[in-house]
């Protein structure tokens, strides 16, 4: 049953990803991207990785995509980029994407030997995740906060530059 849900949400994720590329209006593309991310969150939930499913909805859909939607609302919808969907590199682009997909599938797919299994159990609960995070990854966590701070300062500097 779980596998059926994973296949269903996987197909939906692919369809919505295709719509992101196909739709003309960026607002519609953004909404398709939101639906795509929600499908991925459902896949993570089916896999039992509830921490990441929650992060996917809270951080990606709740923060990143809302930020993007606000930016779209700031921009003029009579832009020439709205009238023409694709650039002149459509055919080479499709060929390169197919070649990259084939190469990646050959590298990641059947050629890869099975990954070694961990100690077992389900380490994806919130308690286990938080404990392991604070014990094993605390330095990375601190570095991530610095990266976030640098990102905020950089964005603020860009906006100030414009003024």
């Amino acid at each position: 049953m779980t596998d059926a849900f994973i296949v269903l949400f996987g197909v939906l994720a692919l369809v919505f990803a295709g719509l992101v590329l196909w739709l003309r209006q960026p607002m519609r593309s953004a909404l398709a991207l939101v639906a795509h991310m929600i499908c991925l969150a459902a896949i993570y939930a089916c896999l039992g990785v509830h921490v990441i499913a929650l992060f996917q909805v809270l951080i990606y859909v709740g923060a990143v995509m809302v930020f993007m939607v606000y930016t779209i609302m700031l921009l003029d919808d009579r832009d020439s980029a709205y009238a023409h969907r694709f650039s002149g590199t459509l055919v080479p682009g499709v060929l390169v994407a197919v070649a990259v997909a084939f190469a990646l599938w050959r590298l990641l797919g059947p050629a890869v030997p099975d990954l070694p299994a961990g100690p077992g159990g389900a380490p994806f609960g919130f308690t286990a995740f938080a404990t392991a995070f604070m014990q094993q990854y605390w330095l990375h966590f601190e570095l991530a906060t610095i990266l976030l701070l640098v990102g905020v300062i950089a964005a603020w500097t860009v906006i100030r530059e414009e003024r």
């Binding site: 992101v20 980029a81 990259v100 990641l108 990954l115 995070f133 964005a155 530059e161």
Partner: protein, 100 residues
């Protein structure tokens, strides 16, 4: 097809779709969204590996990818608004006259 292979195949397909969007779309906003598609494909492959091995490394890496994606989008949107105000368009074809 086993679940792990299925998820990796899905991740590869999503990455290729994102790459296609980066290469063929003219709208700068949709190009940024295609980059997000590629990042999501990478996250999916990490989560699939973590679920397959029942270890936490892939999940922790995913958390850091989210942090990097948040920084990226904040900076990308600021740059995009700045670029649109200077050039007056989101069209990538309008940037062909860039020099130096």
């Amino acid at each position: 097809m086993a679940r792990y292979e299925l998820l990796l195949t899905l991740a590869v397909a999503l990455f290729a779709l994102g790459l296609l969007g980066v290469m063929v779309r003219r709208n700068l906003l949709v190009v940024v969204m295609s980059l997000e598609l590629m990042l999501n494909a990478v996250v999916l492959s990490f989560v699939a590996a973590a679920a397959h091995t029942q270890t936490l490394h892939g999940v922790a890496m995913t958390f850091f990818i989210y942090v990097a994606a948040t920084c990226e989008i904040a900076l990308a949107m600021a740059l995009l608004v700045l670029l649109v105000r200077r050039r007056g368009t989101l069209d990538l074809a309008a940037g062909q006259e860039l020099k130096g």
